[in-house]
Symmetry: C2
Subunit: 219 residues, 2 copies
Amino acid sequence: MKVIELNKVATASNDRDAAVLREELKARDLFLINLMSAAGSGKTTLLSRTIQDLKGQAPIGVMEADIASDVDAAAIEHLGARSIQVHTGGCCHMDAAMTRASLDAFDAGETRIVFLENVGNLICPAEFDTGAHRKVMILSVPEGDDKPLKYPLMFSVCDVVLVNKIDVLPYFDFDLEKCRANVALRNPKAKVIPICAKTGEGMDEWIAWLKEEIRIWKG
Amino acid sequence: MKVIELNKVATASNDRDAAVLREELKARDLFLINLMSAAGSGKTTLLSRTIQDLKGQAPIGVMEADIASDVDAAAIEHLGARSIQVHTGGCCHMDAAMTRASLDAFDAGETRIVFLENVGNLICPAEFDTGAHRKVMILSVPEGDDKPLKYPLMFSVCDVVLVNKIDVLPYFDFDLEKCRANVALRNPKAKVIPICAKTGEGMDEWIAWLKEEIRIWKG
């Protein structure tokens, strides 16, 4: 089989900007999480339930990045969380400069935990460091357990993989153990947590992971 | 709700390259189809079945664009179709220059119909004209019927929307009529064909559409 290799995207200057932003946010005691997944994997549903589960403990802010539309930010605002809708103007990912501009426009207030819901895409968001302190990715059951083989960078850069929509496991050829093995191939350190954001299954483990990471970050 | 608008990607020079390539391919009597969808929507399964359904009538060539891996091209080659694996080197889409380089490396032989299986992504592939004569997109049921609202450009540029995985409709909040209405909002001319590439349901209508478009193109 013939294979042709095309060029690599240059991201060096973005990496420098992201490192600077990450330090600035640490100094402001603002924990930023970059939430990534393909379109339709359940990012907004996860955030909605996370906001509710942490109600009264830790107020969460959300920056919803989208090509267009404000479907997601409207859903988040409905829950009483601080949110801002970011229109990327056709761009398929957020980079450090775009994240900085969004944070400047976002009024964090008392919020000390901010989720950046990245554009629904398994590729470019993985290449562009946003300056976030942790990278969370969602892989939903209908997408298939082979995704870590096909989108290696995304699975290499993330700190945790939430396997969402496990309520429909009986209807798909999705092998949870094969998925764990495929993730481990790319990233032995990544934690894999099976969840169903719709029903709440597995949310306890996700919330515990999040709290522990914030504790470590605070140092 | 606060909204921040970021910059638009520039694609003007690519549009010129694509128009030139499209004319050149027409002169060579080579019909190029740009097949787009999110990751895991069933592009390779659709192509496998399309190759089998057209066996003996029209030999199909396939250029499989991926960030990495050759999972898809290996599956296609197994069916006896001409194929080439294109590694985009981290890039999330194919543009006209990349398509030209791939076609140069691909030995079309007697093949007069070539599918470019674009990178799994609902965003950038929509922005970059590859020089193809038709754009086909797959939306799978688990992704949700609201995708035309969230990825307007993809649904605006495509000629046909194949709604795949209709065998799992009973397990998802996916309204086929709402989906049709959402597609029509973006693109009243796009044909919507519900299919299940795995079971073969709806494939007749898709194959008929393809043959008719080739007939129109030949003029």
